[in-house]
Point group: C2
Chain length 362, copies 2
């Protein structure tokens, strides 16, 4: 059944997508403010299941691209993603029937909603990662064969770059990234163009509903003075991998990404232990006492210990008390084919992917 | 009067454009081979004066972009510039009435002829520099207000990047350059779209004829066992600034350009003197005994001493005996407005531009 996004949904989606965004996908608070402003103007957003679309319905993906550290300082004008989608439609000579996220994440779950609010098009309850990842080619759409181009990149000044007939999604990533850097490390990218049948085959389905459920669970736990992190685990089937205090954040914005490492010292049952989490926009690998305990493509989520609020990589700072969760990735992200795009080796780690429950021998 | 390019013209243009290209603009020999092949297939190229076009005729600029060091190793497929022009026409919804060079130079005087050979469109006897320069914004078209976009970049694999509504030509340069690097440092760029009236106002006119005249003069001097360099000076009004032997070449391909310095030791009347010429694709500044004697935008041309053959920056090597000429730039390149785009400071030199005849007190 299609559902209209309410203010309550929005609160939950911002939290849930922020958590599933594993530290990235854009700042959840800013994403929420953008769509709330549009909804206050009377615009609405309808979410549909992919099964409510005909097989040949045209679905266009859209999301922000850039470094989250820049995204919180250099605010968008507002309608850039609409312009990106419209320019892609004009270039390709198609009309979108629906929009979809490329990744779950604080902002990037919201970006298609912004376009939906302006255009009246529905948003499909799906995405291309079931989490967030830093690079364009790291979507299940591309991994399972949806062509990477045409693609349109827009910035806040209305500048446009269109890519077409690009040989493979990694090349699109490199080209779009360097142009994004020239745009000031922040833009919106409209791609891919899919049929609903392709989305059904390649996408991670029902991920917007999952984000909402995660957020609902966190908010319910807060109201009941319970433990929000445990509530997240009950919905996602994840595991708690650490509780501690942030004692060091090394972060630099380089080559278009926020890269770095956060170091934690254990609290409660983890007293005496340490954890380090490396990130490139998103959390990539969690080391406990020097051993990898969770790696991409599984999710590593850092939450404020009290409120369960996701702490994205651009906001990590000394002194936060946090709970770190590991959540199994979508099965589409764990195939041998997918691991060639999103496994630890793709980020330079000489670590073999093992599902987190196997690593932790649960 | 329109003229059809003959094989004889081509020989002269390759030499003359190579000389006026001041070391860059692409390898003249390869440019000549490309168009000669097309002409051998019965295709022809017509050159028209801008005055033979109506004011509102649509003229499209097209040329190669990249590092000349790569251009001689990574050969083009052939029709890339045609695809770039056709893609630009389709995107902008216009039809070209004629083509024009963005710069004089061994290859880049030829590239519009390649498109002409395929399409039957005429080439206008003009360009946007009256020489070659390494960066997109360094054309009289842009300096005098022709909008930089839309622009289309194509590579040998058929990959396409389109730029639109880019705020200024320097930004287009940065974006097109980084994508060119991702394309392997070699592409073809179609831009700008002008009316013939704009070309007449902003362009360097009759530069293809000038290139042919320069080449004719060199070839006549060779036949007469005369001095080709002096023949070039008689046509261009330039000055000989050095004769010597190349004793050192420092050259690296970096950030999409061939950059470096060639050092000469004097011969004949210059015995005991030294010269160094810095380049970024093209020759930028000539130092004689440590003092600048010619700087951009004036032309610095390095010719083989015997044959007058231009030695482009990618082919400079130890042992060549060369004559170095300084040739005054087109007046449109020496205005205060133009010097803000092409003066020595634009290349990082703390040297004030003074016309070469003033510097050399002739």
């Amino acid at each position: 059944m299609p559902w209209k996004v309410t203010e309550e949904d929005l609160e939950s989606i911002a939290i849930g997508a922020g958590i599933l965004g594993t530290g990235g996908g854009g700042n959840p608070y800013l994403g929420k403010l953008r769509i709330r402003t549009l909804m206050a103007q009377g615009r609405c957003v309808e979410v549909v299941s992919v099964d409510e679309l005909t097989d040949d319905a045209v679905v266009i993906g859209v999301g922000g691209i850039g470094a989250p550290t820049v995204g919180i300082e250099r605010l968008p004008r507002g309608a850039e993603p609409v312009e990106a989608v419209r320019a892609l439609e004009a270039y390709a000579g198609v009309q979108a029937d629906a929009l979809v996220s490329v990744e779950v994440g604080g902002s990037n779950s919201i970006v298609p909603m912004i376009v939906a609010a302006y255009t009246g098009l529905p948003v499909v309850d799906a995405d291309g990662m079931g989490r967030a990842f830093p690079e364009v080619q790291m979507t299940t759409y591309h991994i399972y064969g949806v062509p990477p181009t045409p693609a349109v990149l827009c910035d806040a000044h209305g500048q446009v770059a269109i890519f077409d007939r690009i040989s493979d999604p990694r090349t699109l990533e490199r080209m779009a990234r360097v142009v994004t850097i020239e745009m000031g490390c922040r833009g919106d990218l409209a791609t891919p163009i899919m049929r609903a049948a392709d989305l059904r085959r390649t996408g991670v389905l029902d991920s917007l509903s999952l984000a909402r459920s995660v957020g609902d669970a966190v908010r319910a736990a807060r109201r009941a003075h319970g433990d929000p992190a445990q509530a997240v685990l009950s919905v996602t089937g994840g595991l708690e991998i650490f509780r501690g205090k942030i004692v060091e954040v090394e972060r630099r914005t380089t080559r278009g990404f926020a890269r770095g490492r956060v170091t934690l010292t254990g609290l409660g049952p983890y007293r005496g232990a340490s954890m380090a989490v490396d990130f490139q926009n998103e959390n990539l690998i969690a080391w406990r006492n020097g051993q990898p305990v969770v790696t991409v493509p599984d999710l590593i989520c850092i939450l404020d210990m009290e409120s369960g609020e996701p702490i994205t990589t651009e906001l990590l700072r000394y002194g936060y008390r946090v709970t770190v969760l590991g959540i199994p990735c979508d099965p589409k992200m764990a195939t041998p084919q997918a691991l060639g795009y999103v496994g630890p080796a793709c980020f330079g780690y000489d670590v073999v992917y093992r599902p987190l429950k196997e690593r932790l021998a649960v």
